[in-house]
């Protein structure tokens, strides 16, 4: 057994040397090595990063991934401990504005040359690119994209409502929900009760009503926009959604209710694209549900971006530096992004990947098309519920207000607007 492994490694190593002569020359005799931490240990996430590791090894590298299962915060605690001990991993999972925040506490790698060599910048959504180059230099690379405001429609609930048209605007959406309720769907909205779930309902509402107001209020924290009429309208919409939800969800995960959703006991779900993977994993068929972009009042798709990424921490060791270069090249590679997204159900970061081939679902194709359209019409914005729009402290302060509003129906929309503005002020 050990002999075969060695031989395979040798073969893979020499194949990589042949395939990447320039790379091999530049790195001399050093064997690239990568220490990485992430929270991806199980399910499709674990499978995807393991597959990425295999590719890394095929290119002659040594892959040392230590997953920290559980919440993202636990991964961050490990990262914090390693940074404080002066021994950061060569690369770690981190996303959104946290990239900028964490890059202040330890030196990161300047990836500009590798990114330029790959011609990567022009195929990445501009808002997304900005997050990964906080001081004008690329220090992190996005890995995969999800939209947090995809609309999932239950086939059986649609039958009960005698409807076959996918709602485009919020008015269509509300109309369909009413029809579902009248047709015997107990809860027109399927939902969990977690904080991000509640946050997603709000961000989908506001961005769907006005992407410009979302950008100003949530991404730029413009105080006038925060108290503007669009934010109030979004809270009004959130209350409608909350009234259509099962009040018994407590703090349950959204996946708890997937069976009731497919059975037509619940009708629509506003959820990230990852729900497709969860539905498929639970054994449901593509015929059971339809995926479409979330409601948008100007009828052009709005895309709430959520992207996983890797940040690269400065290391002195030559093998780790070589490993970082190799990893960066791999993460930007269209073939690798295709492999990764096909495992997890996300869409590639690169907007030039062709999704018409086999291995992609209609939902993924629609998501990718929506992203392209949204970028073209400047309607691709960053998700606040999934920590893409603001740092964790500010995000949590905003979600506090939203989650309380969803659960407490005595709070009026105008009160929620004031509280949101106050929470932002207090957390800044």
């Amino acid at each position: 057994m050990p002999i075969t492994t060695t031989r395979r490694r040798l073969l893979a190593g020499s194949a990589a040397a042949l395939a990447l002569p320039a790379f091999a020359r530049a790195q001399g005799a050093v064997k690239p090595r990568l220490t990485a931490i992430s929270q991806w240990s199980a399910g499709s996430d674990g499978a995807a990063i393991t597959a990425l590791g295999k590719k890394f090894e095929e290119k002659g590298g040594v892959w040392q991934h230590s997953p920290v299962p559980g919440f993202t915060t636990e991964m961050m605690n490990k990262l914090r401990a390693q940074i404080m001990a002066g021994d950061p991993p060569a690369c770690s999972q981190l996303k959104g504005p946290e990239i900028a925040a964490w890059s202040k506490i330890a030196p990161t790698v300047d990836l500009d040359a590798v990114v330029a060599a790959a011609g990567y910048e022009k195929v990445v959504a501009p808002d997304l690119a900005k997050l990964h180059k906080p001081n004008g230099k690329w220090i992190a690379l996005p890995l995969q994209i999800y939209s947090t405001n995809m609309l999932f429609l239950s086939k059986r609930a649609m039958d009960k409502a005698k409807a076959d048209k996918v709602p485009v605007t919020w008015a269509d959406f509300n109309d369909l929900a009413d029809k579902m309720k009248a047709g015997g769907v107990a809860y027109p909205i399927a939902n969990g009760g977690t904080r991000p779930d509640d946050g997603q309902k709000f961000e989908a509402s506001l961005a769907g009503i006005s992407p410009a107001a979302y950008r100003a209020a949530i991404m730029n924290l413009d105080s006038k926009a925060l108290e503007g009429p669009e934010v109030k309208a979004a809270f009004v919409q959130v209350r409608k959604i909350a009234d259509w939800m099962d009040p018994n969800v407590g703090a349950q995960h959204f996946s708890t209710n997937l069976k009731r959703f497919v059975d037509g006991d619940m009708g629509m779900m506003i959820m990230g694209g990852w729900a497709q993977g969860v539905l498929r994993n639970a054994g449901f068929k593509f015929d059971d549900f339809t995926i479409a972009p979330g409601p948008s009042d100007n009828s052009k798709p709005v895309f709430l971006l959520n992207a996983d990424a890797f940040i690269f921490w400065q290391r002195k060791e030559a093998d780790l530096q070589a490993g970082q270069t190799l990893m960066a090249q791999l993460v930007m590679d269209p073939a690798i992004q295709t492999m990764y997204s096909q495992i997890t159900g996300s869409i590639p970061v690169r907007t030039d990947v062709d999704l018409s081939g086999e291995g992609w679902s209609d939902g993924q194709r629609r998501t990718a098309a929506a992203l392209k359209d949204a970028i073209a019409s400047n309607q691709a914005v960053l998700s606040v519920a999934h920590n893409m729009a603001q740092e964790n402290g500010l995000t949590a302060a905003m979600i506090d207000v939203i989650t309380e509003y969803v659960k407490n129906k005595t709070i009026k929309p105008e009160q929620a607007v004031t509280r949101l503005a106050k929470a932002v002020e207090g957390a800044r």
Partner: protein, 308 residues
Amino acid sequence: MTDTAAAAPRGRPARPGVVGRLGEHLTIWVPLLLSAAHLVSFSLWTIWISFTPSTLVPASGWVGLRNYTSVLASRNWQIAFDNLLLFGSTFVLLSLVTGLMLAILIDQRIRGENTLRSIFLYPLAVSFVVTGTVWSWLLNPGIGIQKLVHDFGWTSFRFDWLVDRDMAIWTIVIAAIWQSSGFAMALFLAGLRSVDADLVKAAQIDGAGPIRMYRRVILPTLWPITITVIVIQLQFAISTFDLVRALTNGGPGLATQLPALVVYDLMFQRNLLGRGAAAAVLMLLILLAVLLPYAAWRYFWRRRATHA
């Protein structure tokens, strides 16, 4: 260390010299000093951090009371503090009453006492995360007790406290009482068993009935134990974290926030170490407000006992 202890002569009174009792001294003092140093140094460090502008990682600098004022002004902390008052007082009172009742009932020289005692004490052996998770299922109206009663045919029955903002805090009280009234029972039972038999006999001769006997003779001797139980339960209430995290995770909305949840949230989810440390110090102050009077009380009580 163990060798020295084992080598010390057994059965005979030990020599009073320090050398002869080296083993004992090492066994007691080394762990005691280590844990005290741990406790004190980390507490001091937390207090220091609470005055710094630390966010992601500890940073030096001085911001005065800014972290404290911002924690005290936050809705999260205010809700958590109100909840703590409500939860702490009702939980302590109810677990005290339940524990005492169980102890009195078990004290009636009943058959199967050992089995019953184990059953009542057993929840204490279960981790709070398990308690929280199990109760979150039982109390969930869609799958738990409410559904069971509905399935029996009583469909108008409602027991949805877990998802009701105003009642959710009581679900934590219920779960906490289930977990720890066995502990109160054990202490009370020990107290009941140590009541002077002569006292009881004298009361019987004087013609006291069972209720009067408990009220006038037995229970008054239990009050030192009562205070111990109150203090132990109170410090448990103040530091409650895992139970509420598993049961409601502070929800619905922010309805069941507790101080320990706020500390964790600030430090590890919002990456605001300074503010989290300030909240932790505030928790320490609340604890001291319980423990210092208790220490003072014990001190005076002992002094009175030795003088008398």
